[in-house]
C-alpha cells in the first residue's frame, strides 16, 4: 500500500529547491504518513478483536460443517451426470484491505472457468467478489448477496443464501462453494465445498443402504445441509478474513513506521541545511559591511 508513496520522497543530494518549500512538503508528508499509521494500527486492533470472536465461533462451527460433509463423503454423492451445469458460490465479503482473501477466491473461479464458462453460474456472496468477477464473467453472475462481513454471520444469513440458491431457478446438476479455510493467523487455504441437489443425492450409488427415504425427507435434508454448509463456509471465510486483515494491517503499520523514520531523517537534514544556508547569508552579509 505504501510502495507508491516512495515516489514522492525527495531524493537526497538531488534537491532542486532548497529551503522552506521542501521543508513544508516533507513535514506535510510526514504528518499524513503518521495519520495513516494510526489508522492501520487501530484497524489492526479492531480486526484482532473481531478475529478472536470469529475464531471462537469457528470452533463450534467446524464440527457442524464436518458433520454435514460426512454424509456426502460417506455416500459418495456425485453430481447429476446428465446435467453438466454447475453453480459456483463465491464466498467473500463486503470489506477490503485484508490481503488476497477475496482475490484468491476470484482467481480460483476464473482459473476454473478459463476454458469453458458456458455451463456455470456464479452467486457472489459479498460485494468484493462481484466487483472482481463482473469484469470477466459478468454474464455468469446470477445474483449477489450483500451485507456480508459487517456483523458475524448467523445461521439466518446462511439460510437466506440457501433459499436464494433454491429459488434462483437455475437448473444445476452440482454446485460448489469456494471459500477460504482458516489454518493459522497467517495462513489460509482456498478450498471447494461441494453441494448437491436432491435428485443428485437420490441417484448416488450407496444411497440404497439408507432406510425409509422418501423424496420429502431427501429434499428437506438437502435444503438444510445446504444452509449448514453455507453457514460453515461463511464462518471459515469470516475468520480467515479477520486474521488476514490483522496481519496485513500489522505489515502496513510496520511499513509506515519505516517511512516515518526515513522522512524524519530527511526532514532534519533539510532543516539543518536551511539553517546553515541562512547562517552563511548572515555571515557573508556581515563580512561585506
Amino acid at each position: 500500500m505504501f510502495s507508491r508513496c516512495a515516489l514522492l520522497l525527495p531524493h537526497n543530494g538531488h534537491q532542486q529547491v532548497r529551503g522552506m518549500a521542501t521543508l513544508k512538503t516533507i513535514s506535510m508528508r510526514l504528518k499524513s504518513v503518521k495519520n495513516i499509521q494510526k489508522i492501520t494500527q487501530s484497524m489492526k486492533m479492531v480486526s484482532a478483536a473481531k478475529y478472536n470472536r470469529a475464531e471462537r465461533e469457528l470452533r463450534t462451527a467446524r464440527p457442524y460443517g464436518a458433520a454435514t460433509k460426512a454424509f456426502y463423503e460417506k455416500v459418495d454423492v456425485k453430481g447429476e451426470e446428465e446435467k453438466p451445469n454447475q453453480l459456483i458460490v463465491a464466498c467473500s465479503s463486503d470489506r477490503g484491505l485484508c490481503g488476497a482473501i477475496h482475490s484468491n477466491v476470484c482467481k480460483h473461479i476464473k482459473a476454473e472457468l478459463a476454458e469453458d464458462s458456458s455451463k456455470a453460474a456464479i452467486l457472489c456472496v459479498g460485494d468484493k467478489s462481484r466487483a472482481q468477477l463482473s469484469r470477466v464473467l459478468a454474464q455468469n453472475i446470477i445474483g449477489q448477496v450483500g451485507e456480508v462481513g459487517r456483523k458475524p454471520a448467523t445461521f439466518e444469513d446462511a439460510a437466506k443464501v440457501a433459499t436464494f440458491i433454491l429459488n434462483s431457478g437455475y437448473d444445476f446438476g452440482s454446485g460448489k462453494i469456494i471459500y477460504n479455510r482458516f489454518r493459522t493467523v497467517v495462513t489460509y487455504d482456498t478450498l471447494e465445498l461441494p453441494f448437491f441437489t436432491a435428485s443428485g443425492i437420490s441417484a448416488a450409488e450407496k444411497i440404497g443402504v439408507y432406510d425409509s427415504l422418501d423424496a420429502d425427507v431427501v429434499q428437506s435434508y438437502m435444503e438444510y445441509s445446504l444452509a449448514s454448509l453455507m453457514f460453515f463456509a461463511l464462518k471459515e471465510g469470516a475468520c480467515s478474513e479477520q486474521s488476514s486483515r490483522m496481519t496485513s494491517m500489522d505489515a502496513a503499520s510496520k511499513n509506515a513506521g519505516e517511512m516515518i523514520d526515513k522522512l524524519t531523517l530527511t526532514y532534519n537534514r533539510t532543516r539543518q541545511a536551511v539553517i546553515t544556508g541562512e547562517l552563511i547569508e548572515i555571515i557573508s552579509g556581515a563580512a561585506c559591511v
Binding site: 464440527p63 458433520a67 460417506k74 443402504v209 427415504l213
Partner: protein
Amino acid sequence: MFGRTAHTLARHVSRAGTRAYSDAPMAFTFASQNQVFYNGANVRQVDVPSFSGSFGILPSHVPSLAVLKPGVLTVFEDGSTAKKFFVSSGVVTINEDSSVQILAEEAAAVDELDLGSARDILNKAQSAASSATSEEAKAEALITVEVAEELVKAAESG
C-alpha cells in the same frame, strides 16, 4: 412415542442377521449452530423427534436420514444417565459406519429452559398467527407456534 421406538427396534433385530454394516460403537455428533454438545462420543441410545415419528437410535442402527421436528431429544449416555435437549429443527444422519450426526438449528438443555419466557413466546406467536394477513406470514407464524408449543411442553417437563 415408545411404540415407535419398539417398532424401530424390532425392525433392527429382524435385520440383524443379514446386515453388512459395522458393529462399531456409535460415533455420536450433536451440534447446534453455536454449541457442540457431543463430538464423536460413544453413547448408548439417542431418542429423536422426527417428522416421520419419534425413534430411538442404538449403535449399528440401519443407515437413514431424517428431518428433526421441534421437540425433546434424549441422549442415554453410558450407564443410566439420560440428558434431555430441546431442538427446534434440523437433520439426523445415521451412516453405514454407525456414526450418527444430529445437526440442530437451535438446541438447549431442557433444564436451562425458562417456562415463563417460553409461554411469552407462545403467546406472541399465537397473536402473530391470528393477525397475519398474507399466506406466507401466516405459515411462518404457525411454525413459530408449533415450536413454541413444544418449547412450553419441554420446559414444563424439565
